[in-house]
């Protein structure tokens, strides 16, 4: 495979991001809807690095987003007086990655020795357990959470604080989405990608062939969790300006991430993007046209799509694609 062939699949993904970005910037009033859709795309992208590539379903995934959210909140809250300006956001992002990846290392090292349903069951506990830990041990504001709106306005001033919440945080999500796409392709192109593919198809066979399956699974898990931490830090803390444990340790987000990845096609680069687009657009416009009834429409639509495309929309397209088109769809 030539260099171009290896990375060609990034082109349609980046193209979609550029189009979304352009719509957000150019069409008045469309920035926030685009940010809303991008949140779901990025969530899918980050989750896909683990679920898509390994075939393992992590039901505690939202805990990594939550930890990232706390990382940012702690940075802004405790360093507010240090006169660091935008440096605080950088420190917050780093803290988010560190916290999310430490938790993923701890969880992964134990839970990734389990398979299939047992892994899923073990991870459900992580999210709930962590929430009770935060509330019970009264760390990070305990059950009262952390509100950073006031701190942000003190540090940056009113205008800039609003700008960060309504624009910079969304740009960060775009950047995270691009990075997640690149990392996905890099993994796919390397030995790690082939090893994970082997794990996904038949873990026992992969083990017999001498692949250190636990090592690769843990690596994918940490990568995926780090991106989750970044999403939590920017799309939640910076944007919403508060972190309440009951709002961030919410299993709904894990379920949404699974839906997005499955909708688009697990293990494909394009899958979560398409899944996030379908999910985000349907959700947004249904909640506008039929407020209160959107879920009644959304649920059967999702069922129909999943039945029509059991391998996800992109999975099905990939199967149909011939020759040149194939290298753009991975």
């Amino acid at each position: 495979m030539s260099f171009f062939d290896k990375y060609a699949s990034l082109i349609p993904v980046l193209l979609i991001y550029v189009v979304l970005f352009a719509i957000g910037i150019l069409v008045p009033g469309m920035w926030q809807p685009v940010a809303f859709i991008m949140f779901y795309i990025t969530l899918g992208q980050a989750f896909n690095i683990f679920l898509g590539l390994t075939g393992y379903v992590d039901f505690g995934y939202v805990a990594f987003l939550a930890l990232g959210a706390y990382g940012m909140a702690i940075a802004v809250e405790s360093l507010g007086g240090a006169n660091l300006g935008f440096g605080i956001i950088l420190i917050g992002l780093v803290l988010a990655i560190v916290m999310a990846s430490i938790l993923s290392l701890a969880v992964g090292a134990v839970a990734l020795r389990l398979r299939g349903a047992y892994f899923a069951i073990a991870t459900i506990g992580v999210n709930e357990g962590f929430r009770y830990f935060v509330e019970g041990a009264r760390i990070w504001g305990g059950s009262e959470g952390i509100i950073i709106s006031g701190a942000m306005r003190n540090i940056f001033g009113r205008e800039t604080a609003n700008f960060i919440s309504t624009f910079v945080s969304d740009i960060l999500v775009f950047i995270i989405a691009i990075l997640a796409a690149i990392v996905t392709v890099l993994i796919m192109n390397r030995k790690m990608g082939y090893a994970l593919m082997a794990v996904r198809e038949d873990e026992d066979a992969a083990k017999v062939m001498g692949i250190n399956v636990t090592k690769y699974k843990v690596m994918a898990f940490i990568a995926s969790a780090s991106f989750a931490g970044l999403i939590g830090a920017s799309a939640w803390t910076l944007k919403m300006t508060y972190v309440f444990p009951s709002d961030v340790f919410l299993i709904t987000y894990t379920v949404e991430a699974i839906v997005i990845v499955m909708l688009g096609g697990a293990g494909t680069l394009m899958g979560p993007v398409v899944g996030g687009l379908i999910y985000g657009i349907l959700k947004y416009y249904l909640s506008i046209t039929l407020p209160g009834f959107q879920l009644i429409i959304l649920a059967p639509l999702l069922v129909v799509i999943v039945i029509a495309f059991p391998e996800g929309v992109v999975g099905a397209l990939k199967r149909k694609a011939r020759g040149n088109a194939r290298k753009y769809l991975r």
Binding site: F39, N162, T166, T241, Y242, S287, G292, A316
Partner: protein
């Protein structure tokens, strides 16, 4: 089969494109009325108030109640009041809402949509403190007034948002009137015990209660928290018993509040007055506990039966605005159906609409800053109670919580006197007396 699949995909894409186009073709011709500071401000034909409501998800009950309350209030302003008096015109109100699913993700985009593409001039904040905070940066960025009718946390108003105002009483005020009542009825009561749930809301409530109790000269003899969803509170309550308090305040949500009351009965932990958050305010509480519930109090934002009205307003020397309680109930039933009674969520949302109408009339302008300034001095009464904000923060300071007490199987409003329909029963019967059939009824 293959054709069917691609047909489906095509249909989906076309459908989405349509939706997308529909969004972009929104009339942009009518620019956001940015009223000039000059006296000859152009008054539009209608005033659009926008808001996101939680019609699905965990706050769906509260969201539906809010919607009915809002619809009833708007109907009153438009049909009974004839519209909002501004600039010599009678302008009708309109309300546009979207569903935020009780989740923070959609709030910002929906609020921005209300401002930019629907041209909403005023906003109602979503239900709950978290969602209110989520939308605040957008409202602040566009300098649009953002009235909270379901965000009780005091912390919202400590963040420095200039355009966020509150209509309901903040969490810190929940237990204050109960303490006032005890103070008024029995100045000799001194010792207070507080046993409450470790949650964002309860902690704010009891931090406020502690401060208020100390101001009134009470002595906090014991303060303990318990985690969410407790199964046994007897160890905690034994400590309370050892401290022999005169009054006990506590609670958090429904289940733990009920557990608190029933285990107090088991331990025969008597006090002269007991007030528990949330649980006793619901009829289920009495159904579950029977006569054990007699005399137990709970705070509430509002309840059918409060006596706020033109006369109460006259007594306090302030204006009355909006429908009387009976008028409100009739309007509410038009939207919600005959059998549904409004909860306080409906009343506080309706009061937020009325507060906007009143403030616009007083300012005689649609300019956000003028209205916000007018609000600083605005003090009036609706069927929900008084409305007056703290000028610096926008926090509600006029509205007072009402206190309910179970008296002879009925939930009576006993405090404040301007809203009460019964006298406080104090001290409440002991658990032994209640077991013998005594009711908290004179």
């Amino acid at each position: 089969m293959r054709i069917a699949k691609f047909g489906l995909l095509l249909a989906l894409i076309v459908g989405l494109a349509f939706l997308g186009c529909a969004q972009q073709e929104q009339p942009k011709a009518t620019p956001t009325p940015t009223p000039a500071a000059t006296p000859e401000e152009k008054i539009p034909d209608k005033i659009l108030i926008g808001g996101t409501l939680s019609l699905t998800g965990k706050y769906s009950k509260e969201g539906q109640m809010s919607l009915w309350g809002i619809q009833a209030a708007i109907k009153w302003v438009n049909d009974v009041h004839g519209g909002v008096n501004v600039g010599g015109k009678k302008v009708k109100l309109e309300f546009k809402y979207y569903d935020d699913e009780s989740k923070k993700e959609a709030v910002q985009s929906l609020v921005e949509r209300l401002i930019t593409s629907d041209n909403a001039m005023f906003l109602l904040a979503p239900y709950s403190s978290g969602l209110t905070l989520a939308g605040a940066p957008i409202a602040d960025k566009h300098k649009v007034l953002y009235m909270s009718h379901g965000g009780a946390s005091d912390r919202i108003f400590e963040q420095g948002y200039a355009y966020v105002v509150q209509t309901l009483s903040p969490a810190s005020e929940y237990m204050a009137p109960f303490l006032d009542m005890v103070k008024a009825v029995d100045p000799s009561a001194k010792k207070v015990a507080m046993v409450y749930e470790d949650s964002e809301f309860s902690k704010a409530v009891f931090a406020g209660a502690r401060k208020h109790a100390e101001e009134l000269g009470f002595e906090i003899v014991l303060e303990k928290t318990y985690p969410k969803n407790p199964t046994d509170l007897t160890p905690l309550l034994s400590e309370v018993k050892a401290a022999s308090p005169d009054i006990i305040i506590g609670g958090g949500h429904f289940a733990d509040g009920q557990l608190l009351a029933s285990q107090m009965a088991d331990l025969k932990l008597d006090a002269k007055a007991i007030s528990i958050l949330v649980a006793p305010a619901l009829p289920k509480f009495y159904e579950a506990l029977g006569t054990k519930a007699e005399g137990i109090c709970a705070p509430g934002q509002w309840e059918v039966g409060v006596t706020y009205g033109p006369e109460a307003a006259k007594k306090s020397g302030i204006d009355y605005f909006g429908p009387s309680q009976d008028e409100f109930l009739n309007l509410f039933h038009e939207f919600a159906g005959k059998d549904t009674m409004p909860s306080y969520h409906a009343a506080e949302a309706a009061a937020a609409i009325l507060a906007y109408a009143k403030a616009i009339e007083e300012a005689n302008s649609l300019d956000t800053d003028k209205i916000r300034n007018t609000m600083n001095d605005l003090r009036f009464m609706t069927f929900f109670g008084e409305w007056k904000i703290d000028p610096a923060t926008g926090k509600q300071i006029g509205h007072k919580m009402v206190i309910f007490q179970w008296q002879g199987g009925e939930k009576k409003i006993i405090w404040p006197p301007s809203a009460a329909n019964a006298e406080p029963y104090y001290p409440i019967p002991t658990w032994d007396e209640k077991a013998a059939g005594k009711l908290a009824k004179k």
